[in-house]
């Protein structure tokens, strides 16, 4: 039952899950936006795969009155002109598309592989953490030996910081969506055996250097600009946002990463990173980007094949949690 036009209702309609399709909730977000939510409040990458596939199809349709869309983890925010496209016509079009777009396991999603150099425990982000301890919170439990990596180690029950690094390098990172700051990716591990997690800073950190890489909850982010932040820092990479569009990688778009990209990290030293960053500025660096695709069926089979190991790691994390302080 639709409640369009009713007072006191944020939810317009709920469509229950069926035949491999997750439940859908249509919510008013003012008279120019519609929020479409899928499935439960859980982290399920297959829902995000379907959303990104659906989003591509929706954009291709060129619906009159549709302005833009914002796909996220388990939702799509739709910006539309309600004086040209009524909410009920929009929802009807979305429902028709739900029928047309196959369920996640039948999708193959165009997905680039972007390889980024990373310096772990680099001196730039170490300075951010040092400042935090000096000016914001002296007794922050998430700062161990002046940095966040050893805390990530403890929180996940790993051996040492080298093992944390192995875990971060061991998986491709799925960019589920971009936002908050221009170009900031929200990335999740495609290999559940390496799904490390951490709580966020409390209070937040006033300084984070551009290019810093950190983790909050299960999500890894790269900071596109110098900004405040709440994620546990573990390294620094090269620029992913160039507002002035100076180097060729940013000629067409000031933002490097797109939804559905897979990011792979390759380890470098601070000095090497410094040299590469200089090359970026002088436009002598070629960003390593390969076209590719993610076959969801194969991915689901892969996740099944490593289920035992992934669960073993989860148990190890739960055990470790009993002995760790939360910020």
């Amino acid at each position: 039952m639709s409640t369009i036009g009713a007072r006191g209702q944020a939810v317009i309609e709920t469509v229950p899950a069926r035949d491999g399709h997750p439940a859908v909730i249509y919510r008013h977000a003012g008279d120019r936006f519609l929020l479409v939510e899928y499935g439960e409040m859980t982290l399920d990458l297959t829902i995000n795969f379907r959303i990104l596939g659906f989003n591509e199809e929706l954009k291709r349709q060129g619906l009159r009155g549709l302005v833009e869309t914002v796909p996220a983890l388990r939702s799509i925010l739709i910006h539309y002109d309600s004086t040209k496209l009524s909410t009920s016509d929009l929802i009807a079009a979305l429902k028709r598309l739900e029928e047309k777009v196959p369920t996640a396991e039948h999708l193959t999603i165009p997905s680039r592989i972007v390889t980024l150099p990373i310096a772990f425990a680099d001196h730039w982000t170490r300075a951010n953490v040092e400042q935090y301890v000096k000016y914001v919170r002296k007794d922050a439990p998430n700062v161990v030996d002046g940095y966040n990596i050893d805390y990530i180690t403890q929180y996940n029950g790993l051996r040492d910081r080298e093992e944390v690094i192995t875990y971060i390098m061991g998986t491709d990172w799925w960019n589920a969506c971009l936002g908050f700051w221009p170009g900031l990716p929200f990335m999740f591990p495609l290999d559940p055996r390496y799904a490390i997690v951490t709580p966020k800073y409390n209070p937040t950190r006033p300084w984070t250097t551009e290019g810093a890489v950190g983790i909050g909850g299960p999500c890894v982010a790269i900071y596109p600009v110098d900004s405040p932040g709440g994620y546990q820092l573990f390294g620094r990479t090269i620029p992913i946002y160039d507002p002035k569009q100076r180097s060729s990688a940013f000629k067409e778009n000031p933002i490097l990463l797109r939804p559905a990209d897979r990011v792979r990290f390759t380890r470098v030293t601070d000095d090497e990173l410094d040299a590469i960053r200089r090359q970026v500025v002088e436009d002598r660096y070629r960003y390593q980007i390969e076209d590719g695709a993610l076959n969801v069926r194969e991915y689901i089979d892969f996740v099944k094949s490593v289920k035992g190991e992934a669960e073993a790691f989860r148990r190890r994390q739960e055990e470790a949690l009993k002995h760790v302080m939360i910020p």
Partner: protein
């Protein structure tokens, strides 16, 4: 050319509706905080309503012109003067090369004024728009607010005399207040699943004070102890305001922990907090005129049908039908 003699608190080049189509990459649209006064200023000088013009926050802005132009000042009353003598508001008038237009500090209700110049302000387009996006430091004039010594180019003016003395009918000029009623639609995340019915009743009845710490990214309201309809945020975090990150509608009320913040022109595009109400298109302009640390607002719930009627009515006031004079 415009030569900036005093930049004021924050004066930016904007266009309307700002930068569309980059929300999925993390860019809010920027554009004017008060689209109504902005478009009115352009209408008065014969520009397309979305043409690049200046947004002046709180006042203390002074410019010198280098050629003859029709200009118009709208929005909050900052007692504009031309070469020291009072200049009209909500009415187009002529300036000559060497003339100095000065806006003093805002007096009375309202917070932002708009200055449109016939022909429009000329700055490079950035991703399809000339609007200044302060967070990304892009667009507008070098991605920043104007300051003393800046020389801002103007596009060719056309026939100046044809648009002089055009003024808004008094009935079409918006009324600014110290206590505002702002129309919103409930949701996307409200009651009964996130907040309680009582929480929403409080939200719609309480006079919310606009926090001093408000700007083009967010307009902060005071914190409140919400009852919440659930204990925590589950996988998304410990607090019941936490959700798995989703896109934020522009002009939505984001409940960040206990504090509601209206996300405005340069806000964050995506995040992990609920939004319990969203301003309707026709009410967004009021946010641009809220004085931080002083004004009070009450939220009034409307349906989408009412919102669409209101949208058409606001757009109607921004047409030749509202103009008289000449």
């Amino acid at each position: 050319m415009l030569e900036v003699l005093e930049g004021g608190l924050q004066t930016t080049v904007q266009d309307w509706p700002g930068r569309q189509g980059y929300l999925d990459l993390g860019m809010y649209p920027a554009g004017p905080m008060d689209m109504r006064s902005f478009r009115a200023a352009n209408l008065l000088v014969g520009n397309p309503q979305g043409a690049a013009a200046l947004e002046i926050t709180a006042g203390n802005f002074k410019v010198q012109f280098t050629d003859r132009r029709a200009v118009a000042v709208t929005g909050a009353d900052m007692q504009p003067t031309l070469n020291g003598r009072p200049a009209p508001v909500w009415e187009s008038f002529a300036v000559r090369g060497g003339d100095v237009l000065a806006l003093s500090i805002v007096r009375g209700a309202g917070f932002r004024a708009y200055l449109a110049v016939a022909g429009a302000v000329e700055v490079p387009e950035y991703l399809g728009s000339r609007a200044t996006f302060t967070v990304g430091t892009v667009g507008g004039f070098e991605g920043r607010g104007l300051k003393k010594g800046d020389r801002v180019a103007l596009r060719p003016a056309g026939n100046v005399d044809a648009v002089l003395g055009r003024r808004f009918k008094a009935s079409a000029v918006p009324v600014y207040e110290r206590e505002w009623e702002i129309e919103v639609m409930r949701g996307p995340q409200a009651d009964p699943d996130y907040l309680t019915g009582e929480d929403m009743e409080f939200f719609f009845s309480h006079p919310w004070k606009v926090d001093r710490n408000s700007n083009r990214m967010g307009v902060r309201l005071e914190s409140h102890k919400w009852q919440w309809a659930r204990r925590g945020g589950g996988i998304a975090g410990g607090h019941p305001s936490n959700i798995l990150d989703n896109g934020y509608a522009v002009w939505t009320v984001n409940v960040c922990g206990d504090q509601p913040i209206i996300l405005v022109a340069d806000g964050p595009s995506l995040g992990g907090f609920i939004c319990n109400a969203t301003l309707v298109y026709a009410s967004t302009w009021k946010v641009g005129q809220l004085a931080p640390g002083r004004d009070l607002i009450r939220f009034k719930e409307v349906t989408i049908t009412e919102a669409i009627t209101m949208a058409r009515a606001v757009d109607q006031t921004l047409s030749e039908a509202s103009i008289e004079g000449r």
